[in-house]
Symmetry: C2
Subunit: 450 residues, 2 copies
């Protein structure tokens, strides 16, 4: 049942636009989900995208606006008056509306806010704009259902009905005191099954998970995942209930965080997509390539030190890419496991135990690889027994060292507060290339004596 946008559909829509056939286009689009319409708009020319936007009603367009790619949204917003934008925002929940306002040019912001019809809604949005987007405050919405601990069940049900009008989905009912301080929560079920005269203070659950406005978003994600929460209340410095975060916002945080780690591991330092401009892609990719190039300079220098081997053991040089590749691969494997373990909080035990384990693991792996290397270099590559043995002994040392670097660099980075994901990418491969080649030639020199 997943929707796939076909070339035919796009052509059909372009055709309808060029025919100015508003009615048929409207009927066609009204059948679709807003996420699908947003994707279609991304495929159309700007003027066609704007055409579509104008023939739909604001209930639909508001949701579409949210789903659009940032560049497309920017173009659409530029075509709308402050009043029109405000109409869209009136349809959205406070957190989504605040996100859109945050993207507007400074001079537009105030104008748009002043055009929002619902004053309470506008106040809530303005309130949300204060928070950093990477914190609980930046994620939360103001739509929630709360009751006072001094009320009884009947008052609650009445109040809740009123509040629920503004809330799309009731996740939890929060209980506050007269100062709006979060005291606990109430289950809808308990509320429905308790006598209407019962005071709330007798039925509510005093244990409630919460986050503070300045809790980082990844921390919120971790807490909600760990404790299987579908929503979590947000409190301010004084313990007052100021908003709630729902799991669908967290899904985006988790996805973004995973994408970021994946890109970092591949040597891409900013959040980019395949469809971004060449300049944006270059900005994200080039710094890492420069790092790798500079690391390459070092390997050139290192190899130069061992020039003497050219005369006596030139085949040693044929094996440098092999050694470098093994060092790089082992390092990336080790660091990926540690980075994930740190992210998922599944690393236990002392550093000392981890060291012993990593050495054991890399000795096991490298010994098997050394056997393959000895056999392969003899039967496939036809090098001398001495050389084969030299390369194999070096391979074992290189792998052990590479896996130790791969394991402990992320742990160290994490300790000093740097994102350990930085270490899985070109940083590890480059430093392991250098170390690997240095170790390899040093061992070769010791054994072969050139």
């Amino acid at each position: 049942m997943e929707f796939k946008i076909s070339r035919e559909l796009i052509t059909q829509i372009e055709q309808l636009i060029s025919e100015n056939n508003e009615k048929e286009l409207h009927d066609l689009l009204m059948e679709m989900h807003y996420a699908d319409i947003a994707e279609i708009m991304g495929e159309l020319d700007d003027s066609d995208a704007i055409y579509i936007f104008h023939i739909l009603d604001s209930e639909k367009t508001a949701e579409i606006l949210l789903e659009l790619d940032e560049e497309v949204r920017e173009k659409i917003l530029r075509e709308l008056s402050p009043k029109e934008i405000a109409e869209e925002l009136d349809e959205l929940s406070t957190d989504d509306a605040a996100d859109i306002i945050a993207e507007l040019p400074a001079e537009m912001k105030e104008e748009v806010i002043s055009e929002i019809q619902d004053v309470e809604h506008a106040k809530d949005i303005v309130d949300l704009l204060r928070y950093d987007e990477d914190t609980a405050g930046g994620l939360m919405g103001k739509e929630l259902v709360k009751v006072n601990e001094n009320w009884n069940v009947l008052t609650c049900v009445k109040e809740m009905r009123e509040q629920a009008v503004n809330v799309q989905r009731v996740h939890s009912i929060y209980v506050v005191d007269d100062e709006n301080r979060l005291k606990g929560r109430l289950s809808l079920k308990d509320l429905l099954t308790t006598s209407t005269k019962t005071p709330i203070s007798e039925v509510y659950i005093r244990k409630v998970d919460f986050v503070k406005v300045n809790t980082p978003d990844v921390e919120v994600a971790r807490i909600m995942q760990r404790y299987d929460l579908e929503a979590i209340p947000v409190i301010d410095e004084l313990g007052r209930l100021v908003g709630r975060i729902t799991i669908d916002d967290i899904v985006d945080v988790i996805k973004e965080e995973a994408d970021k780690d994946y890109q970092l591991a591949a040597g891409i330092s900013q959040d980019v997509e395949a469809d971004d401009s060449i300049l944006e892609l270059t900005r994200a990719r080039l710094p890492w390539l420069v790092l790798a190039l500079l690391g390459g300079f070092v390997t050139v220098k290192v190899l130069g030190f061992f020039e003497a081997a050219m005369e006596t053991n030139k085949e040693l040089f044929y094996f440098t890419p092999l050694i470098a590749a093994m060092a790089g691969n082992v390092g990336v494997q080790s660091s990926a496991i540690i980075v994930q373990g740190l992210a998922n909080n599944t690393i236990s035990g002392s550093l000392w135990r981890r060291l012993i384990k990593e050495v054991g693991l890399s000795l096991l792996n490298s010994s098997i690889l050394a056997v393959i290397l000895i056999l392969g270099s003899h039967f496939l590559l036809g090098v001398t027994y001495d050389l084969g043995l030299t390369v194999s002994i070096s391979l074992i040392s290189v792998i052990v060292i590479a896996s130790l670097i791969g394991t402990f660099v992320p742990i160290l980075l994490n300790k000093i507060g740097i994102d350990p994901a930085l270490a899985t990418g070109p940083f590890i491969t480059t430093s392991n290339d250098i170390c690997g080649i240095l170790i390899y030639f040093s061992i070769a020199k010791a054994i072969l004596g050139f």
Copy 2:
């Protein structure tokens, strides 16, 4: 507010266990969240973990069981009788209970199921065991609230109250016909605000997203993310409503999928964690290292072809690790962007346009790098002008080719139905190493003529 397990806490708990101080231990643990207790149990000796499990009531232990690491859970389950396990399952939702039963040894399964007190619950669990764990059927639970399209609002509210007793959180109310076929959904709000005599058929929404029992889990995740759904109904081959999937299960799928892609990119072919055994880690890591080693053999052979250069241009060999590293890094960057684009469905436009873009991007990047290389090789490395130019021209060619391989191998794999994430790891670095070195020496030979 996130919980961190301290060494002191573990020591305190071990102390209480050795003193057999059940009461204090019970009080201490009852204050904690089950996810935290599960983590603590993972840190304790087996006998201590089992001790803790026995002093808590089954409402708490059932949830703990779910959160435990698989190995710890296995150990605990081995200590429990079928009747005791059944008591735990009685506390769990059907999908969670089915997951635990699936882990039991075959001979235990039936015994445990026969001990489950609630017959309906047992039937539901048995029903769920039929489905593959990577499909919607394997993810779904049977707890849902459904109403018949022929009822009126009053009947609905009454029926719903009864059904809701078994359902932890009401996400949606589904509407079915007499044959249990999914017809639509009902919002709680509409139900509460409509006159009790209104027939359901007048108020329900006929448009409802759904998945089939055999839809793959990652597809379900994509749909729920795309359409911002907190729950989705699951239908069988005949369109009958058989279960529902909630967003918290999907969060796990998204997390696992991202972790898997990340590991594949790092050359780890199975889902492993830092705390897994050395043997498991070797199984996941060694195959990729063997692949890289075999690739290394090819590079040795390739370098052997250009032996003649040893006499006249030995410095060429100093640059091989640099060229290989650049080819590998560029390839991984390109493929990571494509793999993510394919996963997130954000790749648009024709292959032809992508080709032109990738060539443009890599020409831009490589030209900048070539300038740095020419300057660096002259001023830092002191090689001849001829050699510097040769390496730079090779670098540009190598980067362009590497980025094309990185871009089109994942697209090709995806077309023929293989997970493109496979291509980001050692597979790309190894093939790019080989291609890079071959291109480099071929160009050098053409220019320098050895």
